[in-house]
Symmetry: C2
Subunit: 226 residues, 2 copies
């Protein structure tokens, strides 16, 4: 029937990746057994160890399959931003936060983004290290870019604020259900990505541009009630 013999192999490989991605996003890594994955994928249990070697390697493959294109898109936007003169803070935020948020808008990408958001707080150290390796070059580039648009910020202040940005994004991606606790009204039924992106841009840009007190962090510039 088919000319390409290895095609069936690729089909089961991707079926496993799809099923694993969905189940990991719903029940976590430890909460998802290989038996559940292979059953959902319609393949034999041993296929996971045959194609990936171990459950750990499967998890990393699930991430690598989508993180790498996403990071490529981030770097592409960063280059366009640099070519445009490096002046636009909002554009830089979009280069960083846009790709994952837009991926979250696609029905196929939504579950992976939720998985990605969760991965930031994953206890497993080996997975943490693997994901960190996928992010490292991208984060480094963006750190430099943010330092260029915000030259007045001292290094520790800038790094903390970037930390805030990343954390905010991670939480958004995880799709934590606390959202429904805050937003009693229904805000995000089809998840209007463009509206969310512009809201995030406004909030983060204002935070990043906030003035810095002279006595850098030593004494908190807080007025307590009274």
């Amino acid at each position: 029937m088919f000319d390409y013999a290895q095609d069936m192999g690729k089909e089961t490989r991707e079926a496993i990746l799809d099923a694993a991605e969905a189940l990991f996003a719903e029940h976590g890594f430890r909460g998802t057994s290989l038996r559940a994955i292979t059953q959902a994928a319609g393949v034999n249990l041993a296929a996971v160890n045959y194609h990936f070697g171990s459950k750990q390697a499967l998890v990393e493959a699930v991430f690598a399959r989508r993180i790498e294109p996403m990071n490529r898109e981030r770097l592409a936007r960063l280059q366009r931003w640099e070519a445009a003169g490096c002046g636009d803070l909002e554009g830089l935020i979009d280069a960083f936060a846009g790709p994952p948020l837009e991926l979250a808008g696609e029905p196929r990408g939504a579950r992976f983004v939720r998985l990605l958001g969760r991965s930031y707080t994953e206890p497993d150290e080996r997975l943490q290290a693997a994901i960190r390796g996928m992010y490292e070059p991208v984060i480094e580039r963006f750190k430099q870019a943010f330092a260029r648009v915000l030259p007045h910020l001292p290094a520790p202040e800038l790094y903390w604020r970037l930390h805030f940005l990343v954390g905010l994004l991670a939480y958004l991606m995880s799709g934590a259900d606390l959202m429904r606790l805050i937003a009693s009204c229904r805000l995000c039924d089809p998840l209007d990505v463009e509206a969310l992106k512009s809201r995030l841009q406004r909030f983060v840009a204002a935070g990043l541009r906030a003035p810095v007190p002279r006595e850098q962090g030593a004494v908190p510039a807080v007025r307590r009630g009274g």
Copy 2:
């Protein structure tokens, strides 16, 4: 020796809670076995089911033990803030974010705060529901307070920005190691809580106060690079 007979019972109960809290924070819920907990606590394996009924109930008890005092402190600060006239946005942020961050500064509370940060993205639905129940009244009070200091914000915009605040805080608490990726310098050795609080206040207050475009979210007010 001791007059109070039930004291040994309370001692093992708390020893289990302490050990579980530490191990959950380090390896997650599914990654921590009852055997590991009871061994670390120096008690018999069956003690968990005797004192708590099940592992699930133990998890919920670990959270309830610390969330309730923390939320009481939040509400106390909120009341002081209301008594002071409800004008100070920074003070309101402190009432919400101060207690968990200060708890993170104490050596005993740090591991729980990390656990708490992780819990926001926990896949287990039953635990999610239990934690949501512990938060619900507090969140409701703060929603109203923020709406009062930021009356110019439309409701959806306000709720999203509060969502950003909660997400940022959740990520901070989780102590995700991505921090070290962004901050190549060593920022947080003893974790200067006061400095962190004021940094967070500056960032979040600026974000909350950011102006809202007229065409509310429909068309993104984004200048793309070029």
